[in-house]
Each structure stands twice: as structure tokens, then as C-alpha cells.
Symmetry: C2
Subunit: 407 residues, 2 copies
């Protein structure tokens, strides 16, 4: 199993196209279409926010009732959340417009929107975009990369990733793309991610793999603790690799899950590193926790603490804030046993041992924290479970970006 170039068009039979439709901004790529040449088995996970965007409600219904899908259309600029029944109708019309352009049933077309909440998507612009997208579909890696760029909002880099592996002697590819980068605190899914594969897998096993995977990938990242209204992760598997169908647990399913994990973890980390205004990727590893769930809650508490995030931004080895964030996570533990260590390409340094400061070098601590990727390790000494969560620092630019997002 190894990484390969590309994203959503890396697997056989997947095509993509992007366009500047002027949904909210002029002269900016803001629509993307991903199409499978064969019906693709589809699984999905979605936001747990009570306020669900119209496309989320549409996709949840389709993923539940339809065995396959042929296409997923994205738009950035407007989220189609907080738009009532009118938003629902516009979303259906959007699926309809794409279905017409692709000559498929509209219930084979998933939708995903991202951007401002509370505005209606101008249907005429979207429909014109859809008409332009269909004939532009291409199976090149570049087409996938352009699609990954078109779904960006405040993202500074596009996120894509792909791996190849073998099932039953056949080479299988699985690739994906995703976008952040604010309102990121996924709960059962993330803000717009699509994974495509030419593996053959049943719907049941695809959903099983996806639902298990998000627990350790997308659900373990946070930019600002704000769980979006639009979080959507879709997996499409079209079987064109001609590998045998995965229809039960076993070595093939495990291989598939590992490939999925390689792609989703990479995408999740890229989203965290590119959080709004972020200058650093902050990784929290909790080891020797009493229970798996404890470890996950503790790790997430560290990466979501505004005080930890600002200290990391300032390269300040304020480990007390890390201990404090562990302490209010809701998990019970003995603070007098906890060790806190920081790591990066500049080295490793234990800041606290058994809940108390070590006599650490402030100079080395600052150097470690000044790198682009910083890891905080909390050793709870309470058991053998561990978990990793990814976030980013909190910076002036986060405030700047979000002080006037709509204009």
C-alpha cells in the first residue's frame, strides 16, 4: 500500500470538472463536479448539528435509500443552510440541473455546499455552471486537483490524497479531497470531503468502513470548536478495478480500511494544518489512558483550548494550560501522575513530570514550539489506551478572517 499522485480522479472511472459560476463571488472557481462512469456504491457521514444544510438533508436521504450514486456536485460561496423550505427546493433543482446535464436520474446526484449561512443560492447561475461542467469532465489527475481547488473557501491550500493497493491480484486505487478551514469541529463527518475508489465493495461494508474510520480521523480534528451545518463526507466505490467484491469482514476489508485510513488521516491533518489563520499544525497525543474514549476526549480537549492554541502560536511552553485543558475535559484522572512532553523536528522535551514542572530549558522549548508541526504528548499513566487529535494555533489572522467573513 503506497501513496500515489492525485485525488478524486486517481481511481479508475472517476472524472471531474470545475467552473467559475459566480455563485457569490465573480471570477473565482466555485463549482466542482465529480462523476463516476459506472454507478458507485455510496456511503456517507454527516454533521450532527441540529441545523442541517439542505444539501446535507438531501444526501442523507439518498445515501440511506439509494444503492449507488453517479455524481457529487459541489459549490462554494453559499452554504444553503438557514434557508428553510426555499433552500430545500433550490437544492433539489440543483440536483435536477446536474442530472439533466449528465443524463442520469436526479436521485443519482449528491450535492455539497459550503460558504455563508443564511443566503439562497442563485439557481440560474448554478444551472449555467452545471451545463458547463458536464462536457468539461475529464479523468486526468489535474481535473481532480482543479476540483479540489474549486471547493476551497478560506482554505489556503487544496487538500487531496490517494493510495494504491492490491485486492485479489488487482490494483485498486482510493483517493479523496476535502476542504476546511473554519467552522471545523467535525462530529461524525467533516466539512465537505469526498473519497473515490475503484474498489468493489458492498454498500453495507462501505458504510461500516467509513463510520469506523471517521472516529480516528475527521472526528479528531478541530479548528475552532464550531461544528458546521454542512459537514459531509462521501465515499463512492465504482468497482472498475475489477477486484473481487468486498462483502464481509476479513483481510480484504482490512486492506480497504487501511487504505481509507491513509487517505482520510492525511486529509484530516491537512485540514487542521490549514485551519483559518493557522501557522502551525498542533498534534495532541494522549498515551496510557484508562480507556480509548478517555484518550480521545483528552486529546481533543487539548487541541481545542484557545489558551493552548494561543500559547503554541507564541511558541510559549505554558504546559499548565495543557494540564488545565486535560483537567476540564470531563475525564477523571490523577493530575499528579501526568507527564507532558513537546516534540517537533527540533527535538523532544519533557515539560512536566508527575504533574509538576521539570527544570526544562526555555530556549529549547521555544525552538521546539517554533516549528511548523508541534506535537504535545500527555502520558496519563493510567492504562494502555491512546488517541491522537489534530488542531492548529489561534492567531491574529483567525480573528481577521472571521471578523468580517461575509464581505
Amino acid at each position: 500500500m503506497e501513496y500515489t499522485a492525485g485525488g478524486v480522479t486517481a481511481a479508475k472511472g472517476f472524472m471531474a470538472a470545475s467552473a467559475a459560476a459566480g455563485i457569490k463571488y465573480e471570477n473565482r472557481q466555485d463549482m466542482a463536479l465529480v462523476y463516476s462512469q459506472a454507478p458507485a456504491v455510496t456511503a456517507g457521514t454527516f454533521t450532527t448539528n441540529v441545523v442541517k444544510a439542505a444539501p446535507v438533508r438531501w444526501d442523507m436521504e439518498l445515501v440511506k435509500t439509494e444503492e449507488t450514486a453517479r455524481a457529487l456536485v459541489f459549490n462554494s460561496g453559499i452554504a444553503n443552510a438557514g434557508t428553510g423550505q426555499e433552500g430545500v427546493k433550490i437544492n433539489e433543482a440543483m440536483a435536477g440541473a446536474v442530472a439533466e446535464a449528465l443524463e442520469v436520474d436526479m436521485r443519482q446526484v449528491l450535492t455539497a455546499s459550503t460558504g455563508v449561512i443564511g443566503m439562497q443560492i442563485p439557481l440560474d447561475k448554478f444551472a449555467a455552471g452545471a451545463k458547463a461542467l458536464a462536457p468539461a469532465l475529464s479523468d486526468t489527475l489535474e481535473a481532480g486537483t482543479r476540483a479540489a481547488k474549486a471547493i476551497m473557501t478560506t482554505d489556503t491550500v487544496s487538500k487531496e490524497c490517494a493510495v494504491t493497493f492490491t485486492i485479489g491480484g488487482k490494483t485498486v486505487t482510493l483517493g479523496g479531497m476535502s476542504k476546511g478551514s473554519g467552522m471545523i469541529h467535525p462530529n461524525m463527518a467533516t466539512m465537505l470531503a469526498l473519497v473515490t475508489t475503484d474498489a468493489a465493495i458492498t454498500k453495507e461494508m462501505a458504510q461500516k468502513a467509513l463510520s469506523a474510520d471517521v472516529k480516528t480521523t475527521f472526528n479528531m480534528i478541530s479548528v475552532d470548536r464550531d461544528t458546521s451545518t454542512n459537514d459531509t463526507l462521501i465515499l463512492m466505490a465504482n468497482g472498475l478495478s475489477e477486484a473481487p467484491v468486498i462483502d464481509r469482514e476479513g483481510p480484504e476489508f482490512d486492506t480497504f480500511c487501511r487504505a481509507l485510513h491513509m487517505v482520510t488521516e492525511t486529509l484530516a491533518k491537512k485540514m487542521a494544518a490549514d485551519g483559518e489563520g493557522a501557522t502551525k499544525l498542533l498534534t495532541a497525543k494522549v498515551v496510557h489512558a484508562a480507556a480509548k474514549e478517555d484518550a480521545a476526549v483528552l486529546a481533543k480537549s487539548v487541541i481545542t483550548s484557545n489558551l493552548v492554541k494561543t500559547a503554541v502560536y507564541g511558541s510559549d511552553a505554558n504546559w499548565g494550560r495543557i494540564l488545565c485543558a486535560l483537567g476540564y475535559s470531563g475525564v477523571s484522572f490523577d493530575p499528579d501522575r501526568v507527564d507532558v512532553t513537546i516534540e517537533s523536528s527540533a527535538g523532544s522535551l519533557m515539560l512536566a513530570k508527575n504533574g509538576m514542572a521539570t527544570d526544562f530549558s526555555e530556549e529549547l522549548a521555544t525552538e521546539i514550539l517554533s516549528q511548523k508541526e508541534v506535537i504535545v504528548v500527555a502520558d496519563m499513566k493510567a492504562g494502555d489506551q491512546e488517541a491522537t487529535a489534530w488542531g492548529c494555533d489561534l492567531t491574529y489572522d483567525y480573528v481577521k478572517i472571521n471578523g468580517d467573513y461575509r464581505s
Copy 2:
């Protein structure tokens, strides 16, 4: 019942003093002592953080086992949290030093520390400070005000408040002080607050009043969702008003609770308004919720959202973020019924009706949001319960203050 001047020395028999002891910084007031001329019935609420500072553990034990207390000594600069058994011993020695200076039993001396986590308090400096404080005690209002200033860390203004009222024909006074202004997300109490009164009340009724009160005051504020290791709220009642003892529920207890609420709500709002880097007080009022607890959770979700807080900073009427924050609070509701209104001294404006944007004036919205105190009202149309929470905007200065707090 009306507001009166002063804070912790407003009630009869309470004296205060402050000093610059050089605990962490030179030439800065960093110790305060509040002393009651008669033994004072004492109630308290404390942080629920698993990591509890040494003074918190000391006070919890004393409030539980001792009927009364005579003094509460504060220091700012070092929090005495993350300091292990050595910190516990230092804290005891601190209580002992104050007890010796005041010639009282050390179990009559409560302690409260705030500042950096993970450093030990230099006992010699503290003891010298304690020795200077005792003879400087004064019952003037100014002495109380100076004490409120001495406990400040990143606070920009000191917080005090007092009210007078009548019980059994006697004039009773109740006053308090508190400090913020980062790591503020109280859970059962707040970061260092003291309320003093010359009312006569039993310990049981005092604790009952305090525990009920924090639910709608200190527990409803947040600056950064970081629940501190040091949150402490103490109520001391010395009975010197000669009013009849409150020893049961009834009109006198209700009067006492109203007075307590006037002081604690005022202090809580002052803390929120003076949150680190804040330029605005953000109040979220949730009305017509199905349950009281729902209303509180919803209101707190709005004031803790980084995205809502940055939008308020930028005076951006991005109501979708408010709806989104309500949506991920964990409370179930129908988003298509929610109205969102903003209010301030510049007027009132409904931004969303039944979950969808109204055709509001952006100009007026910006003017309303540009004021120092902004209120967001979310009408859930699901019942008759309501709650209010207080927070502040998220600004460049919050990042600046916390990027390098320790230096």
C-alpha cells in the same frame, strides 16, 4: 434593595488591605487580605476541573468542615496549580503565615491564588507580604477597592459591587469583588470572587443560596471556554448587621438571595465585559425554550462560539453563525422556527425569522453591533423557559495577551 458604593468592605465589620509582595512581578500590587472582625459563616463553590489548585483544595476542605472563617488571603501572579505536594505545603504555610499575623487559627484562613500554572509561590515573599498586610487592614470602602485592584491579572478594570437591603428592620449590606479575565468558563464557580455580608445566616442556608445563584450568574459567563484550575467563589456572612438570623426558606431568605444575585450578576457581567482582549460585552438571551436547562445550554453555546465572537468583534451581522452555534449545542429544536434578533443602545433588529434571513438593513445591523454592549436574542418558540449568558468578542488582543502570557 439598592446598589451602594464599595465592594468587600461595604458590609459591617469587614476590613481589607493590599500589598506589593513581588510574588512574580516587582512593583505591582499582588496580595490582598480580607478580614472579618467577627467569625463569618462561610459558603463556597469551586472549579470542577480535575486539576484543582492547592488553595482550591484547602478552601474546599475548610468550607466543608469549619462553621466560620475570619479571613481570605489572595495573591496574583502564580496560581499554585500544577505544583504537586510541594504546592500543598506552601499553601498551608501561607495560611499559617496569615493566621500568625492576624492571631487567629490557621483553619480560619482561606486562600486564593491566580496567575501562571506550574510555578511554586516563593514563601518568603508571601510571608513578608502577610506580615505587612495585617496592620494595614482598614474598613474603608477605598481599602476594598484597593483589594479588588490587587487581585487583577490581565484584567483591565477591577470589579466590585455592593447592595443594601433590610431584614427584620435592620439595614444589611452585601458586597463583593471578583477578577477575570482569561481561562474563564466557570463551572460551579468563578476565578476568584468573594462576597461579604453583615447579614446573619446559617451555613446551610448560605451554601444553598450560593449554589443556586451561580447557576444563573458566574456559571453563565465565558471568555474562552477554558475552565480554570483555580475557580473559587466564597461568601462570608458575619452577622454584624444585627438582623435576625436567616435559618430557613421564606421571605428573608428570598430577600437575601435577591441581594446576592444583584451583586453576583453584576460581577459576572463585569468579568465577561473585561474578558481578555475584549472590546464588547456579548449577551445571549434565549427565550421560549422547551426547558430551563435547554435555554442555558443554548445561550452558552452562542457566547462561547469563536465564530460568533469574531463576528461580533467585526460588527458583522453573520446570524448564520448564531444559528449554527445553537444547532451544535446538543439541544434538539426545530431550526425552521427560530428567530434571531440583535439589540443594543443603537436599536433592535430581527436578522432571521423562522430560521431564514429577513430583509434587514446591513447598515443598521452594523450600527447595533458597533456598540459596547450587544445582545443576541434567540426565540426558540418551543416553550416558556429562558436563560441569559454573557461573554465577549474575540479580538487580536486576546491572541496577543495569550501568545506570550508567561513573560
